[in-house]
């Protein structure tokens, strides 16, 4: 059998294991198989010294912290044979309680990214980079540092709250007080400024969404990127999921409906920039009508509130006065919270809008209840765009001698008008610690690649009271060094005062020194050793820091409340954060590139969201390129017609358009920073709004989107009901066909007969002495469509990414997809529904009987199984699958010699060894994570105890921040899944086909305004 026609097993076959071993420096993986070309015998390489805590074939888990965004979730890293293969949330961690978003799942593709900087690089005279040794590199930096003038060393980092930040500060002072600039493109300057203005507090508020029954969001994308999305998703679902006959309500006030808006019960689209006025008008009504116990000091803002009557605001914002009055009444009727806008609402008056929302919360009495303050809390680490602008100005003036950049990519992620790249060129010596050759690293003279967060010792404080530890979960993949160690080493080489300053010889020692302090701070008893080991085991230490309330600051009455407005005749461009790529740092992760945008379902590129009316006026159809131009510049991207933007708004996501940053990111889509104004706004941040004009260019491309028909055509795929209906009666599923087309008595006979058919067979099933029937319940009133499950599924099941051209042909392999359907629009309220669609594991699966070779069949434990190595690839099963959840290997994604190879070295190291990597020509699909089921059954059998409900969690269930997915045994009447399956909201998709799926969906419930 020819080798190229074979599938690859996770732990086997054609991955170049020899290289893996060499690079890893560990001598082998137990029973690692290594094979070359056909005919050559397989080799087994033993360990030289067996690692103490690892058994070949058995996973070891390490607790560490996700550093993909400032959220700082705790993760457990699954390590097999010395390599990390999966990340899961740390259930003990207070931020995420075991959940993880798509970006967190994709951290694996950071550590194994094929475009990582593999060794120190120095710029040559020709402008290219050449690899150099660490000794050489360190020597070069030390020389420069020695010759740099006092105070001319600048250190630019991302948010590094924790020990590393402390080290940077200390290190700079050891080298004579340089300047440390923190830059996160998605900073919270506006909110920080507003909090300072309104309450006199330097720090961001906590929003206790779980304690609010009514959430009024003025453009906060808290399900996507705002503050701490995983945590906020959990808190939001706790309030908003339909349970025990009630649920909260979310009203989203924003001109572009994002993922958060899609989850709202009501979407109100004000004139862009006026959402602050709406907030003030609501506050006005509350105070006017005494709807809440208004604090006494509200009198100080009386003037402001008086000026913003609903009628006055209605005219400017386009939100009817009645609506404002209604919102005010609803807002005060139960516990509530108002949220200020995120990056996608950051216009020039964003601080005023945020201040208005603060005032609204204040007059409604929410401050101190659902809104609390902990000074110093800032998930962007005190980032300031103004600081970056200062750095650029200083560089232009020749005031920067040495620039060190760590964890920031301002050349990409700052407005083009700032000219950061040109500014950098004015600096004589630039050192980058980037792990990737990104746009900023490209401008550096020397690159000293840092370890990936999964390879390093570090810590991080996502918020006051939470100290999260990072520990290396595997040996470094490349010849990289932790920046902390490099800084200490540089101090040592430089000698003198700098060397004397640090007693720690490694960053790990430095870290432990600080943790001794933390032990004292949190008052943990026991030896430091015990404290440290416990912290490592748990992933950190945390103390409950309950924020406090606040009262109005002195200067509050002097605040100005302006709205942003686009000049007459121009459109408003909203540059919003991409929920997958964040500020662009996720763009080199193929999983994130292939993850459909939760709103538009477009992958691998940029698009411009245009309202169909606007598009019709310009004669633009989907996929036609439009040019969006502002004073600052112009970008060209294909149009996506979307009723979720106002007709006077166009929207483009941040994150694409990289000119460097590796094969997956480069030359893809457009960088929306090119049209944003470079001037720091009053609050010190970037304005993500711009006045633009658009024009049709005549180019066309088929959008690489996974969406077919965006409407349900009345087929009841994603069903919804209203709270009122749920309270008054039963939920009636919208079925397009009646399920029971056979008389009942026949049904009964059929059932008995079928049981008999299984009877003998069941006796031979016997995995754990019982006969489970695996099933799943997905609660659509919880599911937000965030798509974390999709990426978790990619990670768990070795799903290949296929690239843009393949997605254009609909060939994405995502076993689990989030379908998004639009409802209403064209005058009706515009709504969206989402539904995770995966193999339904039908009892009467239509895919099974049509397979000529039994590759698709039903297991005794109720799974619809796909035996890859039996599959010959007729694809009949997929034709006959009404849910279209079967995926075919069109190319040889697993073959390193094939152009379609999906895991270029060393990306293949993230492959899950517990599951086959499928070869070309075979069908694959969701297995309900059968490797986890079989693994649990093995464990149960070995330990002699039965499997308990909840022992087996599928990858999607495990990571779901909203807890929307429940997996378990339907034959066990006490299991969560069987109880939930009886929920009155339960329905099966396309029930009329009598496929009898194992997945029950619970209809979404909308909490509509009572008329």
């Amino acid at each position: 059998m020819s080798d190229s026609w074979q599938m690859l097993e996770g732990e086997g076959a054609r991955i170049n294991r020899r290289k893996f071993l060499k690079v890893l420096g560990v001598a082998g993986g137990g029973a690692v198989a290594l094979s070359g070309c056909a005919g050559e015998p397989e080799k087994l390489i033993p360990y030289l010294i067996a690692p103490e805590d690892q058994i070949p074939g058995v996973a070891t888990w390490y607790a560490t912290t996700c550093r993909e965004c400032p959220g700082g979730c705790g993760v457990h890293a699954k390590v097999r044979e010395g390599r990390v293969v999966k990340l899961e949330g740390n259930p003990d961690h207070p931020v995420n309680l075991g959940k993880l978003c798509a970006r967190g799942q994709a951290a694996l593709q950071g550590v194994y990214n094929p475009d990582r900087v593999r060794s120190p690089l120095a710029r040559t005279a020709g402008g290219d980079f050449e690899p150099i040794s660490w000794e050489d590199a360190l020597q070069r930096v030390a020389e420069r540092l020695g010759s740099a003038e006092r105070g001319r060393i600048w250190f630019l980092t991302g948010n590094e709250k924790g020990t590393f930040e402390q080290l940077v500060r200390e290190w700079l002072s050891a080298f004579g007080s340089g300047r440390h600039v923190v830059y996160e493109p998605f900073g919270y300057e506006a909110l920080r400024r507003a909090t300072l203005d309104v309450f006199g507090i330097d720090g961001l508020p906590f929003y206790h969404l779980d304690e609010a029954r009514y959430i009024l969001s003025f453009g906060a994308d808290f399900l996507e990127t705002w503050l701490s999305p995983v945590e906020l998703t959990r808190r939001f679902t706790a309030s908003h999921a339909f349970q025990n006959g009630s649920m909260g309500r979310l009203v989203q006030v924003e001109p572009r409906m994002g993922l958060t808006g899609m989850n709202a019960d009501e979407w109100i689209a004000p004139v862009p920039g006026t959402e602050g006025l709406v907030a003030l008008a609501i506050a006005h009504v509350i105070v006017r009508d005494r709807l809440a116990r208004v604090p006494a000091d509200v009198s100080r803002i009386r003037q402001v509130l008086d000026a913003h009557t609903p009628e006055a605001v209605a005219g400017r914002s386009g939100v009817a006065a009645e609506t404002i009055e209604r919102l005010a009444r609803e807002f005060t009727a139960e516990s509530s919270v108002a949220l200020p806008g995120g990056v996608g609402s950051q216009h020039s008056q964003a601080h005023a809008s945020a201040a208005a929302v603060h005032l609204l919360n204040y007059v409604a009495g929410n401050v101190g209840r659902t809104v609390t303050f902990a000074p110093g809390y800032d998930p962007s680490g005190g980032s300031s765009y103004r600081g970056l602008a200062d750095l650029a100005a200083a560089a232009r003036n020749g005031e920067v001698g040495v620039l060190l950049v760590h964890g920031a990519n301002p050349v990409y992620a700052s407005p083009a008008g700032l000219g950061f790249a040109q500014a950098m060129r004015q600096i004589s010596f630039k050192v980058s610690f980037s792990r990737f050759l990104d746009e900023t690293a490209r401008e550096a003279d020397l690159i000293l690649p840092d370890h990936d967060p999964l390879e390093q010792w570090n810590d991080y404080e996502p918020r006051p009271g939470v100290y999260a530890l990072q520990q290396p979960v595997m040996q470094p993949v490349f010849d990289t060094r932790q920046t902390g160690d490099v800084l200490l080493e540089l101090a040592r080489i430089s000698g003198g005062q700098a060397a004397a300053r640090f007693s720690a010889s490694t960053y790990r020692d430095y870290l432990m020194e600080r943790w001794r302090q933390i032990q004292r701070q949190v008052g943990a008893r026991g030896t430091f050793e015990e404290f440290w080991n416990e912290a490592l085991r748990r992933g950190g230490v945390w103390t409950e820091v309950r924020g406090r309330g606040a009262s109005l600051a002195a200067g509050v009455s002097r605040l100005q409340f302006d709205a942003w407005s686009a000049p007459e005749g121009s459109l408003t461009l909203i540059a919003y954060p991409s929920s997958a790529l964040y500020d662009g740092r996720g763009a080199n992760r193929p999983w994130l590139q292939e993850l459909p945008d939760p709103v538009t379902k477009v992958t691998w590129g940029s698009w411009v969201e245009i309202h169909p009316e606007t598009a019709a006026r310009m004669g633009v159809a989907e996929g036609e390129f439009v040019e969006v131009s502002s004073e600052a510049g112009a970008i060209r991207a294909p149009a996506y017609l979307y009723q979720g933007v106002r007709p006077d708004v166009v929207a483009v996501a941040v994150g694409q358009g990289h000119t460097a940053f590796g094969r997956y990111a480069e030359g893809r889509g457009v960088n929306v920073y090119g049209v944003l104004g470079a001037e720091p706004q009053e609050f010190g941040g970037i304005a993500y709004y711009a006045a633009v004009s658009i024009r049709k260019t005549g180019e066309y491309e088929r959008l690489a989107k996974t969406e077919g028909t965006p409407r349900q055509l009345g087929r009841g795929i994603a069903q919804a009901t209203t709270l009122a209906e749920m309270l008054h009666g039963e939920f009636h599923p919208e079925h397009t066909e009646h399920a029971a087309e056979v008389p009942e008595h026949i049904e009964e006979v059929l059932e008995q007969w079928q049981e008999r058919q299984y009877a003998d067979w069941r006796n031979r099933g016997n995995y754990a002495g019982e006969h489970p029937r695996w099933g799943m319940v997905i609660d659509l009133s919880r599911c937000t469509g965030c798509s974390a499950c999709v990426t978790a599924c990619y990670a768990e099941n070795n799903i290949p990414t296929v690239g843009k051209a393949a997605v254009q042909r609909g060939r994405e392999m995502s076993w689990l997809r989030i379908e998004r359907y639009f409802e209403g629009g064209n005058g009706e309220p515009f709504e969206a529904r989402v539904i995770p669609m995966l193999c339904q594991h039908c009892t009467n699966a239509p895919c099974e009987p049509v397979c000529p070779v039994f590759a698709a069949y039903h297991t005794p434990d109720g799974l619809n199984a796909q035996v890859y190595n039996r599959c010959v690839g007729t694809r009949y099963c997929s034709n006959n699958c009404p849910y279209k959840v079967r995926y075919f290997n069109w190319f040889d994604y697993q073959n390193p010699a094939d152009p379609a190879f999906a895991w270029p070295d060393p990306l293949h190291w993230l492959l899950n060894p517990d599951i086959t990597v499928r070869s070309k020509g075979v069908m694959e699909k969701c297995t309900f994570c059968i490797q986890r089921i079989r693994g649990a059954q093995h464990r149960a059998r070995m330990e002699g105890i039965p499997i308990r409900d909840g022992d087996i969690k599928t990858a999607c269930e495990q990571t779901c921040p909203a807890d929307a997915i429940v997996f378990g045994d339907l034959n066990d009447p006490d299991s969560r899944v069987s109880r939930l399956a009886l929920d009155p909201r339960g329905y099966k998709v396309l029930e009329g086909l009598n496929t009898r799926p194992a997945i029950t969906y619970l209809a979404r419930v909308r909490n509509r305004a009572e008329e």
Partner: protein, 167 residues
């Protein structure tokens, strides 16, 4: 030709050939051979064979195929039982298709086998002439040399265009 001794006659006219065949039969010859370029009813009737036994082959082949079809599908379904689509392991309706196709296949092949077998069993060594596949009817009567003359006479009288004595 190294065939048996006998007399070979070629006819152009079908009624002449038929007359000749009748005459030969009257003389008591049974193992003579008649060649025709195409099937011909009159000749056929004159020779007067019984119905060919090939049809029995067809019958038994067909029955065997049908039984084999059902037996194979059912046995294989239970030998390694695999449940698909919530259907019973042995489902007769879909297996009818297989049984039907095998009925045809084995029936047809056994018909051919019957044709070959019976043609082989009833083959005779006899003189031949290429004209018999063109436009002549041929009759060959194997006979010992002493009766050749009589036969020759008979054929000429019947209207043979050519008579040849073999051996």
């Amino acid at each position: 030709m190294s065939g048996p001794p006998g007399v070979l006659a070629a006819f152009q006219h079908v009624d002449a050939a038929v007359d000749a065949i009748r005459a030969v039969k009257e003389l008591g010859y049974r193992d003579f051979t008649v060649y025709t370029p195409a099937p011909n009813h009159e000749v056929d009737k004159a020779v007067g064979h019984k119905v060919s036994p090939v049809r029995l082959w067809t019958l038994f082949g067909g029955l065997t195929g049908c039984a084999a079809g059902f037996a194979m599908t059912l046995w294989m379904s239970y030998d390694y039982p695999i449940v698909v689509g919530g259907k019973p392991l042995g489902s007769i309706p879909p297996y009818v298709v297989i049984a039907f196709e095998l009925t045809i296949l084995i029936g047809a092949l056994s018909t051919i086998a019957g044709l070959l077998f019976h043609s082989w069993r009833t083959r005779r060594k006899a003189a031949y002439d290429p004209r018999f596949s063109d436009d002549h009817i041929g009759i060959f009567v194997p006979a010992p040399p002493e009766r050749h003359a009589a036969l020759r006479q008979l054929f000429i009288e019947s209207g043979a265009v050519e008579v040849k004595v073999e051996g």
